[in-house]
């Protein structure tokens, strides 16, 4: 899933301080799963805005709405009859959501309420970890099913660098050296010889380096 975290409330309050009618839009997709942008979090943010306004002697009208998915025009359309009633819209979906809203409703003032972090999953309750860099050409089967592009700080393809330290990455003792894990796994599977093969420079054309990406699947285009 796409993992996000809430923006600091101070930053959000600053964004909307001049508006009296605010619409908060959540998303039932990834951000609901990672407890940052679902209907519950919409309610919490709305209450926070109301309490803050009251504390400062201001009047504010805050409406709450949660869409099935903000990354789908069909669901975004649901708010077409109400969005123009609001001076500001806060989307607490991943970075895709507020952009889809902005595109569909060009006159709306849309603000992001979360910071989108990465593609990953929950490794423990309350802990999420990156797994995929979206490079567009998956190679994890060469590395014991583990992605060194997303999970090595230097995206190395030919083994661990000299900074690997007792299973930890040189950037932090809190970050695993993924190459340590890859090597040990491949050794356990008696497949070390596969890691000894030289991996040539990767083509990054399918990654973000190739420019903004679009995917067209002709069989699905109506």
């Amino acid at each position: 899933m796409i993992v996000a975290e809430p923006k600091p409330i101070k930053e959000i309050l600053e964004m909307v301080k001049d508006f009296k009618k605010v619409l908060i839009i959540g998303c039932k997709g990834c951000v609901t799963v990672c407890n940052v942008g679902g209907s519950k979090e919409v309610g919490i943010l709305a209450s926070t805005l109301r309490i803050d306004a009251k504390k400062n002697g201001k009047k504010i009208e805050v409406e709450e709405h949660t869409l099935e998915r903000q990354c789908d025009p069909e669901y975004v359309d649901e708010i077409k009859d109400i969005i123009n009633d609001y001076e500001a819209v806060i989307s607490i979906a991943c970075g895709v959501g507020p952009q889809f809203l902005s595109e569909r409703f060009p006159s709306a003032r849309v603000f992001p309420g979360v910071n989108t972090k990465f593609m990953g999953g929950a490794t423990e309750h309350g802990i999420w970890s990156e797994r995929c860099a979206g490079c567009g050409q998956c190679v994890i089967h060469y590395f014991g099913g583990i992605c060194p592009i997303a999970r090595c700080s230097k995206s190395l393809l030919n083994g661990p660098c000299g900074g690997s330290d007792h299973g930890k990455c040189e950037i932090s003792k809190d970050v695993d050296c993924i190459w340590d894990i890859i090597v040990r796994k491949m050794m356990e599977q008696d497949r070390l010889d596969e890691l000894l093969e030289f991996k040539p420079p990767k083509s990054w054309t399918t990654a973000r380096d190739g420019g903004p990406r679009q995917l067209i699947r002709e069989e699905l285009v109506i």
Binding site: P160, G162, E170, V183, K199
Partner: protein, 310 residues
């Protein structure tokens, strides 16, 4: 290893069978050419080539190619270091051509310390290719006369290609294989990380020799004399991939006030003596960090002077 790949002094020394002795010099954090010349001047005549570091520890300094050219002007052979952190494959290949065009003949290929360590942690890194692929790039340009895209280049950069090896980083079992991989990718010489844990290094070299790696590549053992107990503790605790045994720290502590630096040099000299006899070791890479003025004394006491001319 009969014909010269580059004709650099370092390559000639190694091919002639001499015990090589290389040094290191960090470029200034500014454009202080005089300071660079002064530091490098201490190394002149004491070493066969001087590594010029490339924004080491991700701290911005004068570019390694520019500092290398200054050394060339001073009559000192540079070993130009290049990291993958700051350049994509376009910049890497153009810099390889550029340094060769200006007379640089040695190049050390490295991944590069992550920028999080350095003085610009907000920077975006590159890592378009890794150090293994950098070795391959330099070799392809030199031996095949081709760019990475397969296109021909007109005059090949004849560089003596080096790489680093850290026998002490984990996982230990993989390290000798990674060395073998670097040699297969095109490394003609290896300079190791600073060695302090001699037992572990002996084991590493035994494995390298068993695999015949010393016959395919020249391996230079990395030596950095400890200046103080604080330095030893810092390296033990805070430098990733560094293995400083407690026994060495104890030995330095035992030296007494004002005598720690001398004890550090003594340990380095003992190491060099052992490396001279160690199977598979072709020389020593002395990294006297901000202690360049001590290199003549260390070289003299190590019995590696005068440097042979080839």
């Amino acid at each position: 290893m009969s014909e010269f790949k580059s004709g650099s002094n370092l390559e000639k020394i190694l091919k002639a069978g001499h015990f090589a002795f290389t040094g290191e010099c960090g470029p200034p954090q500014g454009a202080n050419v005089d300071h660079l010349k002064e530091k490098a001047g201490h190394l002149k005549g004491c070493v066969d080539a001087v590594n010029i570091t490339d924004n080491q520890t991700a701290v911005v300094r004068m570019s390694s190619w520019a500092a290398s050219l200054i050394l060339l002007d001073e009559g000192i052979e540079p070993n130009f270091q290049m990291v993958c952190r700051d350049r994509n494959r376009l910049a890497i290949q153009s810099d390889i051509l550029g340094v060769y065009a200006h007379g640089i003949r040695n190049m050390l290929c490295l991944s590069g310390d992550h920028q999080k360590f350095g003085n610009h942690p907000d920077a975006k890194n590159v890592f378009d290719i890794d150090s293994m692929q950098l070795i391959y790039t330099a070799k392809t340009m030199r031996d095949e006369g081709k760019f990475l895209n397969g296109q021909d280049l007109d005059v090949s950069p004849k560089l003596f290609i080096g790489a680093a090896s850290n026998p002490f980083a984990e996982p230990f079992e993989f390290r000798v294989h990674r060395l073998a991989k670097k040699i297969a990718a095109g490394a003609g010489f290896i300079q190791t990380q600073c060695i302090y844990n001699m037992d572990k290094f002996r084991e590493f070299m035994k494995r390298a020799v068993d695999m015949g790696l010393h016959e395919k590549c020249y391996i230079l053992a990395g030596v950095t004399p400890m200046k103080s107990v604080g330095m030893a503790r810092y390296m033990a605790k805070s430098v990733p991939g560094m293995d400083v045994p407690g026994s060495l720290i104890k030995r330095l502590q035992g030296a007494g006030k004002g005598k720690v630096a001398e004890e550090g040099i003594k340990f380095a000299l003992e190491q060099i003596e052992e490396f001279k006899e160690m199977e598979g070791i072709a020389g020593v890479h002395l990294m006297a960090i901000e202690w360049e003025h001590k290199v003549p004394e260390i070289a003299e006491r190590a019995g590696v002077l005068p440097r042979p001319t080839v």
